[in-house]
């Protein structure tokens, strides 16, 4: 352990004061004023008793503790890594410029050049390398140049050098090719010697610096691969980059400028799951990895049709934003179409997986009703039905009893205190407290089992006139019925956020269970709050694109950062400070009591 301000440890000397007070203080304490001194028998106290005054001992102890704790607290205890104390035995410490241009030489060539420029006595010394991290001012410690991650980013080396200069190590050197112009602005401290890397004839490297796999879900799905190539040589290089996915090879020829990196995109890869291989061919001029593999997961795509009353333009404004927000489920991609309920006869419902109807059904023609019935009877389709009339109308149109389905869920939105009443209930009168139902979906739904009579003639309503959601689950599909007959404001449901969880509920039934198992619990809860988070900006919702990217470095050897093992990072040890504070706080009342008693 070290201290931030060790000078304060001198305060420990103050402990001599209470010790002196204890030793020199009268053994019998202060004289006690009394009245009947004449009749007090005189007996010499025993020597042992003279010294033994518990509270005086305690007082001394508490005083010493108090002073010591304060001194240590002011001194600021710090943690020191084990590195400084034992492990580092290197004799040379180097800050190596990890810009791409330094990679024009192989690690062996760099090390050979460095050693050639070291003084004689250090030529065989071991070297530890510090490199800058692009997103942090901390320095990373690596033991060999092979572990150095070369960065394509602009790095402010000036700050890092200043930090490096603070480290108390001998034989500090700076390794760089000094090609960048900003080195001119860096002030090199005296104790750091610079070692310049010089290009040799024909030294260059071309390779993939990193690559990303991009899924874009924006009214459709596309898989893209983005690769960052670099050319650290001093001359142009022509390379051919190929992407191999599911047996298809896509190639591009590009010319890489000297000492620069360059992005290359492969868009619109086919859907599906499989490995993607990226290969760079530069006619044996590569000394680094020139290929990498990705795994593309399949993306599910579904078509949703929203039927409501009104013109198509109105409906787009009303529903589309919310619908697009609803499809923010990972690996789920949806195309949403909006149509008027009156155009139902012209629509091909088989092309859609999920049907959302927010309209009155009783006025529909018999043919349209039959069409809806046929759609619902398909066990793989889902319907979200937001009715403006009674529940019985839906029963009639969709012939729910004939589907062999049971009503297995009810819920209110928002969940609240309400009683479910069924006027046509034939059995004994009973009311159900909605709040007492199953609390599985606490955030939105409150499911519960609901019994029906034999004829299924039921009509539900909630006393507080909240909409009642009834979910009917089929083999794979489900049917969500939102009965809003009592509240005309719900005919504008498309504008409200309620639509989002309804869509998500319908969509989640389509998720591949094999995939779900691999995912976190988030997958099993499509109503998790992050998915509910609604953007106030409509355009943002339109343009929403979900990206899944993966960053893979060429040299993925893990090197520990200084924050984990670094020798030079001394952090105030707050655990000890906190402990000291606790002791101090506990000590104070005891000390005050003893002081008063004394």
């Amino acid at each position: 352990m070290t201290f931030a301000n060790p000078i304060f440890l001198a305060g420990l000397l103050l402990n001599l004061v209470p010790i002196a007070i204890h030793i020199l203080g009268k053994t019998t304490g202060k004289p006690i004023p009394f009245t009947t001194v004449k009749i007090i028998p005189v007996e010499q106290p025993k020597a042992k008793e003279k010294n033994f005054h518990l509270h005086r001992r305690l007082l001394l102890l508490s005083r010493i503790l108090f002073i010591s704790l304060l001194s240590i607290l002011f001194a600021g205890p710090k943690k020191v890594s084990s590195y400084e104390t034992s492990e580092i035995k290197a004799e040379v410490f180097a800050y190596i410029d990890n810009s791409i241009s330094v990679q024009m030489l192989s690690p062996e060539q760099i090390e050979a050049q460095v050693r050639s420029q070291l003084p004689e006595q250090l030529k065989e010394a071991s070297i530890q390398y510090f490199v800058a991290l692009p997103d942090s001012e901390e320095l990373e410690l690596v033991s060999s140049i092979g572990d150095v991650e070369f960065q394509p980013y602009e790095i402010n080396h000036g700050k890092r050098i200043a930090k490096f200069a603070e480290y108390h190590y001998p034989n500090k050197i700076l390794i760089s090719d000094f090609q960048r112009s900003d080195w001119e602005n860096v002030e090199l401290p005296q104790e750091i010697n610079s070692v310049q890397i010089k290009p040799t004839a024909g030294s260059f490297n071309v390779g993939i610096l990193k690559a990303e796999l991009i899924h874009e879900h924006n009214q459709g799905t596309s898989n893209s691969v983005k690769a960052l190539l670099y050319n650290s040589s001093l001359q142009k290089q022509e390379v051919r980059v190929s992407v191999d996915f599911q047996g298809q090879v896509f190639s591009k020829d590009i010319e890489l400028r000297p000492s620069q990196s360059q992005n290359i995109f492969f868009k619109d890869l086919p859907e599906g799951r499989g490995e993607v291989e990226i290969i760079v061919d530069a006619e044996d001029q590569l000394s680094f990895d020139n290929s990498m593999l990705f795994l593309i997961e399949p993306i599910q795509s579904h078509k949703i049709l929203i039927l409501s009353e009104g013109t198509e333009k109105q409906l787009k404004n009303l529903y589309l934003t919310r619908a697009l927000q609803a499809i923010r489920i990972d690996r789920m991609s949806c195309e949403v179409e909006v149509a008027s309920i009156h155009a139902l006869s012209d629509l091909d419902l088989d092309a859609f997986d999920i049907l959302c109807i927010n309209a009155s059904l009783v006025k529909l023609s018999t043919a349209d009703k039959e069409k809806l019935k046929t759609f619902q009877q398909n066990q793989t389709k889902s319907t979200i039905l937001i009715m403006n009339e009674s529940f019985e109308a839906a029963m009639e149109i969709f012939q729910l009893p004939s589907l062999g389905l049971n009503f297995n869920g009810i819920a209110t939105y928002p969940p609240g205190q309400s009683t479910l009443v069924s006027p046509n209930w034939q059995g004994p009168k009973e009311t159900l407290e909605v709040n007492q139902l199953d609390l599985f979906y606490v955030d939105f739904y409150r499911y519960g089992q609901l019994k029906t009579n034999n004829s299924n003639q039921i009509h539900f309503m909630l006393e507080n006139q909240f909409p009642l959601v009834i979910q009917i689950n089929g083999e794979k599909a489900s049917m969500l019925i939102l009965n809003t007959s009592l509240d005309t404001a719900w005919s504008e449901l498309g504008r409200s956020n309620t639509l989002v969880p309804l869509f998500q509920n319908a969509l989640q039934r389509w998720l591949d269970p094999n995939l779900i198992e691999k995912q976190t619990s988030k997958w099993l809860k499509p109503f998790d709050k992050p998915h509910f988070k609604l953007e106030s900006n409509r355009n943002a919702a339109y343009n929403y694109t979900r990206k899944e990217s993966k960053l893979i470095f060429i040299n993925p050897k893990i090197s520990k950062t200084l924050s984990e093992q670094g020798p030079l990072q001394q952090h105030l040890d707050y655990s000890i400070i906190r402990l000291l504070m606790y002791i101090l706080v506990a000590l104070l009342p005891m000390m005050l009591y003893l002081e008063i008693k004394n």
């Binding site: 009268k26 053994t27 019998t28 304490g29 202060k30 004289p31 006690i32 004023p33 009394f34 009245t35 009947t36 001194v37 004449k38 009749i39 007090i40 028998p41 005189v42 007996e43 010499q44 106290p45 025993k46 008793e49 003279k50 033994f52 005054h53």
Partner: protein, 295 residues
């Protein structure tokens, strides 16, 4: 503390103990009280007849008796008098002792007792007076039966601070000058330096039909000596310092103290003096009520 506050405290104490306001003895006096005087005079309670002698005031002649029997008789009445209650307060510095846990010193306790008993006495029409002394008499209040007198006494008590040593002869000379005939004398002191001579003086007062009550005010520490370990004790009055092992000598001290108290009590009884020990940590009401029971 203001006089008013002090009086309020005294009254609340009186209410607490609800001490009956009875005097204990027959005394001579001038102001009508519930004490019965042994001399006939202008009282209201008929005592006896005596034959008329020339020179008697005719207003005392019982004309109805003369008309009925034909004898000239003078009506004699038992005169109701008040009593002079003297409070003699020792204000030597030893009275200022107060242990760490106690709320009041012996002196403050005695003052409070005087105020309470004075209040009761005034209520029943007695006169109260005060003599507070150490080397000299520091406060002297002539007996009076008005509430003003009590306030004067309380004001005087509040101004007093115990100091020095008690000079009992000085107190006695002042007392003898003013005490007059029969009366009641309450001596409040810790009586640590009371000797037979002094008690003899008090005995002399009882011979003169004074009712002398010795109220010894002690701090509980003075009786129990609850000290531990090696301690230094400094005498408040003399400044004498001794060092002793307190716990070891505790038993011996208690023995000596009880002997001292026993001796004092025995001498007081022999001298027909009333003696009472008051501990300053006990509720004052307890002693006031005990006083009520005496009457």
């Amino acid at each position: 503390m203001q006089v008013n506050e002090f009086m309020a405290m005294v009254e609340s104490l009186i209410v607490q103990c609800q001490a009956p306001a009875h005097a204990r003895s027959l005394v001579e006096g001038f102001i009508n009280g519930i004490h019965r005087g042994i001399f006939s005079g202008s009282g209201t309670e008929f005592m006896q007849y005596r034959p008329y002698h020339q020179g008697d005031e005719l207003k005392h002649l019982d004309w109805k008796l003369y008309a009925r029997v034909g004898e000239k008789q003078i009506r004699l009445y038992r005169e109701e008098t008040n009593c002079h209650c003297w409070f003699v307060l020792d204000m030597s510095s030893s009275m200022s002792y107060r242990n760490n846990t106690s709320k009041v010193s012996k002196f403050e306790y005695a003052c409070l007792y005087i105020a309470c008993l004075g209040w009761l006495s005034i209520k029943q029409g007695d006169s109260i007076g005060l003599i507070a002394y150490n080397e000299k008499v520091n406060a002297f209040v002539e007996p009076g039966s008005r509430r003003d007198t009590l306030e004067t006494i309380v004001l005087a008590l509040l101004k007093l601070t115990p100091a020095g040593q008690a000079n009992h002869p000085t107190m006695f000379s002042t007392l003898q000058e003013h005490i007059g005939n029969r009366g009641k004398l309450s001596v409040l002191s810790d009586m640590l330096d009371f000797d037979d001579t002094l008690l003899g003086c008090f005995k002399h007062l009882t011979v003169l039909h004074h009712d002398v009550e010795l109220l010894q005010v002690l701090d509980p520490y003075e009786q129990d000596f609850p000290f531990k370990g090696g301690q230094q004790f400094v005498d408040i009055e003399t400044g004498q310092i001794i060092e002793t092992a307190a716990l070891e000598v505790k038993d011996l001290y208690q023995l000596r103290m009880s002997e001292h108290l026993k001796k004092l009590q025995d001498t007081a009884i022999q001298s027909q003096l009333h003696y009472k020990l008051m501990l300053s940590d006990q509720p004052i009401a307890q002693y006031l009520m005990a006083k009520g029971d005496l009457s």
